[in-house]
Amino acid sequence: MNRFDYVRPATVPEAVAAASAPGAAFLAAGTNLLDLMKGGVARPSRLIDLGRLPGLDEIESLPDGGVRIGALVRNADLAHHPEFARRFPAVAEALLSGASPQLRNAATVGGNLLQRTRCAYFYDTASACNKRAPGSGCDARGGENRLHAVLGWSEHCIATHPSDFCVPLAALDAAVEIEGAAGRREVPLEAFHRLPGDAPERESVLAPGELITAVRLPGEAAEFAAHARYVKLRERTSYAFAVVSAAAALRLDGERIAEARIALGGVALKPWRARAAEAALAGARPGADAFRRAAEAALADAKPSGDNGFKIELARRIVVRALTLAAAGTPGRVPALPASPFAPTSGAAPHA
């Protein structure tokens, strides 16, 4: 292992100050960062351990009915927080569909947002990767890219963002609270991650040294609680990243959809909010036709980045599925196989 400094700041300003040095990296639970360091993919010269920062591990209700989630809240603690799970069931379901119980017990909210892509060429230091070594090329192009992006990719990078948690967050208008040398700011989650463009090494809007302090969900997000689901297609029943996934949330007004929220995971280098699909559903009657139209709209701009054309149709179908499940109503509790097509469903069969 290369030698690095290890600092454990006591306050957020100290953390931000410590991170101003080049080569510094924040360490949360390390479930991603330490793996990257062991593989020689990340070689920070200074680790700033956020673990002892006070006040970042709280889940607070906000006056508007929303919630503020500290950056150090563990994925499992958030998912199992009864009030949170009741008000934001799709978020809880997404969290519980990610990784393994051991990882969720450790992984933090901030770390989940900033986890790196799972592109194999990114993890493999012998491969060319613009994200890891800017300008070196992209070995995923023309390589093993079955699971790579179909939306928002560029010739410089075709990777996807692997988070499940971020998908319903994007759908529900979450905001990211940031603290940096220049003070506090906040950014909508939808705008937090960057598409690759010609600089895939820049993954988020964070300036160097900026720290995520919290993620906020607005009160309106809880208005979807009765009809909110996350569905994740995987290559095994658990402990696998999404091939494609979708969060769908509906606010119904009698027979009609008053408002729909849809975001996709596993399709792009960021959680993909499908606003055109949402618009297509506004005022529509929930049903197979409307959902299929929405799905078509969501993937209208999709194109394969390699041997992954099948993901486009799968993404459409997962949108239809998520909407169908959401329309059927949020189950009383998160299924034992969260977000899985094999979770027992209540009510009508959601399949064709």
């Binding site: 020689g40 094999f342 069969a349 064709a352």
Partner: protein
């Protein structure tokens, strides 16, 4: 070595016969409390850490290593490269017996596969050695890579598996196909797979002059000893190997691997004990894998559903520098009756590490192809797949014409089908849905694995305190050798389990042969059984020749050993304890020896195989293509069952492996670089608990008088066979889509989904 304290008498031990009892593992408490000491848990005084630097190209040469940078790193003690490696007594590329494979021991700067060791960094800490290895920053002269089964001209391998002919013919296949009213021809593909035992290959080596002491997981200590002795030019008895526990082997620890020898070389170079443990990604190259296959099946059948021909052809690959050819087609030799059967193999050479034996080598990929093709043929004949298999039931081994030593396969079919509820299966596919609308399908496959034996020795001792000792250097890979072999030992010595000491797991004990080929219990068990018989015979000689013994003169009638006493066979009221016999003879103990090996006469007369039938239910999401096996029932007949609990667990493990084979497991190989791109357990998928919701294994009664005196066949590998095909067939039955490329990918199921 540290004492290994096994549970002497596990719960519910029934005194009397130990064989047949469902004892819990005697090493279980050690394992669940973390006190079972695996190779890498050893830390001799003064030990250094060695870390491999491995190549990131698949073909070419190492043009430069920054040894200076590595050596300058604090804590780094030495860097071992081709330039300074200790001399070897034997060229690691020299071939010996068929079990000698070429090793990469820094003999040159050639790179012949990805992840080949190119240097070893030895340091005071693991971290320093790791960083030292990174600092070597090798540069390469790369050459074009041969990756994939179509990358080069193919040839007929000289032999497949271990010394089996690449082509075998029985009857006239072309005539059989011509005469058929129904024909099926299909091509099936299986990917490269890596063993990925939970415990990585590890070695802790200490030299003392020309004496070597090593802790390393081994499925064959005597062979490892011989190989190391040859390489270092020392006597095998000067090598002491301890391998009390293996965290899985699956064939990849059958032969000592290059990295293990490099650890020993590193210790020699620095003159201190050295530990070398592979990182997970380093297990994707120098320690074996299962080669990919492309198999073409041509079947013919008459209008009655009787097979007229089976032609099974397999294309596979070996490395560019050594020979191991997955004998995939040979599974067709034994299972189904047909007047004409041909099996053949062709191969290419790829820039990979040399493939190796991997759980059910040949049978595993061969079975998924054959069982799929049989299913396709049943469908083409409009027959139920079980009825079709029964119609083509082999009463004698089809290719050899030999009778089976025993074959309770019919019972397996019957019991498995009944338990599963097979009778209500609709013939046509895509007929069943569950309450949630998921497609449901039922499929089956026949399981088979040869009943093999290697050679083993054991030493038995009876002591004057009435206890006994049994020694054989057996290998517990997690399958339960510490328990099952001790059960055989107890019965062999006529003692209860808590009265015997079973010594195993080190190379200074009698050679227990190799723990492979599902033959360890039979082979080591027979050695134990014979050693027990030998020492009992000696004890009986003492008693029956001694007029002071109640057994005096019983020589012709014979004696029975039970519960620490010898009984006169024809008059059980006359008996004497072992302790009394030895005390009177003034002997502190008495020793016997025994061996276990194939009986060539039985082998030439009979075909010997274990059999089974596996039934699978899968659910498939009709829109999304995701598959889950919801139910598996396997019924297996494998002769005498020494310990039903352990055997069931072997079947479960094999069946889960079958799930993996059909649905999950594959190395993602980059076609340009020939490198495995998913060398970690996050991305190299095997089933997790959620993938295996319901599993049942039925132990079908079978007595085999011919395989060996104990009637033991093997159970370690058979569960893989049959299962993978059953799942593939169930996927077809659920969806109507026949996927012939494994593992079954979800995109192959969505094209025509409703």
């Amino acid at each position: 070595m540290p004492e290994i304290t096994l549970t002497q008498a596990p719960a519910h031990v029934r005194h009397g016969s130990s064989i047949g009892q469902p004892l819990t593992r005697r090493d279980g408490v050690l394992k669940v409390t973390g006190t079972a000491r695996y190779a890498a848990d050893n830390h001799p005084d003064g030990m250094l850490y060695a870390v491999l630097a491995v190549s990131s190209i698949s073909r070419g040469r190492v043009a430069g290593l920054d040894v200076g940078a590595a050596k300058a790193h604090p804590g780094v003690v030495e860097v071992m490269t081709p330039a300074n490696k200790p001399p070897l007594a034997q060229d690691p590329d020299e071939k010996g017996n068929p079990f000698t494979f070429r090793l990469d021991l820094l003999q040159s700067d050639r790179v012949r596969y990805a992840n080949q060791p190119v240097a070893v960094v030895i340091a005071e800490t693991l971290e320093a050695a790791t960083e030292g290895a990174a600092l070597l920053s090798p540069c390469y002269e790369a050459e074009p890579v041969r990756a994939g089964l179509d990358s080069d001209d193919s040839f007929v391998p000289p032999a497949v598996g271990v010394g089996n002919p690449a082509e075998e013919r029985h009857g006239d296949v072309d005539a059989g196909l011509a005469a058929a009213t129904v024909r099926v021809e299909a091509v099936y593909e299986t990917p490269a797979q890596y063993h990925n035992a939970m415990e990585p290959h590890a070695v802790v080596a200490s030299w003392d002059g020309d004496t070597l002491s090593i802790d390393t997981p081994s499925q064959g200590m005597a062979m490892a000893q011989a190989r190391i002795a040859g390489l270092f030019g020392i006597a095998p008895e000067n090598i002491h190997i301890r391998s009390p526990f293996l965290g899985g082997g699956f064939g990849s620890k059958g032969l000592i691997s290059g990295p293990q020898v490099l650890g020993i070389m590193a210790a020699r170079l620095v003159g201190r004990p050295v530990k070398l443990v592979l990182r997970r990604e380093q297990m994707f190259g120098p320690v074996g894998h299962r080669a990919p296959t492309r198999q073409t099946l041509r079947l013919g059948a008459g209008s009655d559903g009787a097979l007229t021909a089976i032609d099974h052809h397999a294309k596979t690959a070996s490395s560019t520098f050594d020979d191991f050819f997955e004998p995939a087609a040979n599974v067709a030799h034994t299972l189904y009756a047909s007047p004409a059967i041909a099996t053949s193999h062709e191969a290419v050479r790829l820039d990979t590490g040399t493939p190796q034996f991997m759980r059910a080598p040949g049978e595993a990929p061969g079975s998924i192809a054959l069982e799929s093709a049989i299913d396709e043929m049943a469908q083409a004949c409009g027959m139920d797949p079980l009825a079709f298999r029964l119609k083509n039931y082999a009463e004698v081994e089809p290719v050899s014409g030999k009778p089976f030593s025993s074959k309770a396969l019919r019972d397996c079919y019957t019991q498995g089908a009944e338990r599963f509820g097979w009778a209500s299966r609709p013939l046509a596919p895509r007929q069943m849905r569950d309450e949630a609308g998921l497609l449901v399908g039922w499929g089956m496959g026949t399981a088979t694995f040869p009943a093999l034996m290697f050679q083993a020795q054991a030493r038995a001792v009876l002591r004057s305190d009435g206890t006994g000792v049994m020694e054989t250097g057996a290998h517990d890979m997690g399958q339960g050798a510490w328990t099952a072999l001790a059960q055989i030992a107890a019965d062999g010595l006529g003692l209860d389990l808590d009265r015997i000491e079973f010594r195993s797991g080190t190379s200074d004990l009698p050679d227990a042969g190799i723990a492979g080929g599902s033959a360890h219990t039979a082979t080591a068990g027979m050695a134990i059984h014979s050693a027990g018989a030998d020492v009992i015979a000696r004890l009986a000689d003492l008693a029956t020749a001694d007029e002071r013994s109640p057994l005096f003169g019983a020589g012709n009638a014979g004696v029975i050993a039970r519960g620490g006493r010898l009984f006169r066979r024809d008059d059980e009221s006359r008996s004497e304890s072992y302790a009394d016999i030895l005390a009177r003879a003034g002997l502190p103990e008495i020793e016997g020896r025994g061996s276990g090996a194939t009986d060539p006469a039985a082998q030439s007369t009979y075909a010997m195989h274990a059999h089974g039938a596996v039934f699978a239910e899968v659910k498939v999401d009709p829109d999304l293509g995701q598959v889950r096996v919801s139910r598996l029932v396997g019924a297996f007949a494998a002769g005498t069952i020494i310990n039903p609990r352990l055997v069931r667990s072997q079947y479960y493990g094999g069946m889960i492996w079958g799930v993996s084979f059909a649905l999950h497991e594959h190395a993602v190989m980059d076609g340009r670089s020939g490198r495995p791109m998913n060398p970690n357990l996050g991305e190299y998928h095997v089933p997790v608990n959620a993938d295996v919701p319901s599993l049942e294994a039925i132990l079908v009664e079978e007595r085999d008088p011919h395989v060996n005196a104990l009637g033991i066949k093997g159970v370690g590998e058979i569960g893989v066979t049959g299962t993978a095909g059953a799942i593939a067939n169930a996927v077809w039955h659920a969806t109507g889509i026949r996927v012939r490329r494994f593992p079954i990918a979800l995109e192959s199921l969505i094209a025509t989904a409703a």
